[in-house]
Amino acid sequence: MRKLMMIVCAFAGLAIYATVAISAEDLAAAVKERRDLMKKTVAPSAKLGGQMVKGVEPFDADKAAKAMNDISGVPDKYVTLFPKGTEHGAIKDSEATPKVWEDFDNFKAIAMKLKDASAKAAGAAAQGKGTFTAAFNDMTKVCKECHETYREKLEQ
């Protein structure tokens, strides 16, 4: 019995250690990684799709589908990059509002909506510009739903 207790305690200790061991560098790395996902994958893909929708770029079904699939690949990873202590004000470069942690389930649900909406837009590309446009606009509504509550912009 005592042995069991010791093992439990050891594991508890380990768990506490692991929690504490999220160092400042780890937090900063999480912020950087999630921002890079947005800035280097999501934003350029959204811009590419959007410019086709807007008619700035000619519509290309393959390119559009690829861009949307790239976005769809982000959310699963993205939601793992929000350790506590990385809200706006607590750490450099974070634009995440404290609400992310207050209702993390909803935050995550919106991220999963983005995954679905972008996959749908990718599928819609083959059916022509009109179908793609509708699906793309549905997707950017999801972007806005999240930004409205969970992002507090640092810069323009």
């Binding site: 959204a46 811009k47 004000g89 509504k141 640092l154 323009q156």
Partner: protein, 346 residues
Amino acid sequence: MPRAGWWALVVIGIAGAIGFFLLTIPKTIPASALPAHTPDLANGEYMFTAGGCAECHAVPLSKCKDTKTKDKHVLAGGRCMKTEFGIFNVPNISPDKDTGIGKWSTLDFVNAMKRGIAPGGEHLYPAFPYASYQHMTYADLIDLKAYLDTLPAVKNEVPPHDLTFPYNIRRAVGLWQLLYVDGKTLKPDPKLSAELNRGAYLVEGPGHCGECHSPRNFLGGVMQSEAFAGARNPEGRGRIPNITPSDDGIGDWSADDIAYMLETGNTPDFDVIGGNMAPVQENMAKLKPEDRATIAAFLKALPPRPDAVPKSAKKKKKSDQDSDADQGESGGEDGEGGAQKPDGSE
């Protein structure tokens, strides 16, 4: 101090009190100013959307600080806005007779919108953006009142504002009104096209864009010389963008880009807008396309201005490029700025 000195102080004090009283006498619009006008409910609803009434007055989703609402047509108030002046509890403007504005006449409503004066001569705080709404035409205001009367009456007693001294002296709002409120409808500029005039009206009147996008002086008045050049976020951290056509602002956006953003929420880079602009944009999306185009044209015609509020992000961008190990800035977002930038964050 000699006795004569004391007397002088007393006299000055009394004169000051009388002066304060006289200067802050509520100024209202007489009934004779109201034109005969048959209300147009469709236009009233349009003004309701353009004016964003629901964004503050609709019942918040659950907690008072929620910016999301249950139903945009239930204007029973209850939202709380935490600002540097204290907490504003947004009033009930549903047509409920006891707790809303169901007893207000059209003239009462016009006086609130154009003069910031409630029935009984009570000064309204300019968190209610009547410094913009005052520019609206009587016809639009009469239509809006008629439309508000058709919305559900809901009993909801909202607690009074919880402001710090001296802002809790309601009468003093009268002094502010002397400076910033004259109740005059925005006159079309004959030198400008009908399109630009309509854009100016929508932006400076119902749209009240400058209430957030223009910087304020220490009195809380909009600085016209820097209008639309961006400002501090009145609720929370960060800054509200400069929307003049300058390098700091949106000089690289075409008029179509602006209209498209108002319609879809997508910036030219397809960075989707958020924060308090999200519900505003959703209202703008409901306007007629030609009205969005006039807003875009008006913004493009503004004098280009540098940022009114120093952009901490500039430093940030530089440090990004230097791929930095510079830490001095962490958490420094709201420490920036001088006397005009008291920390309004929670």
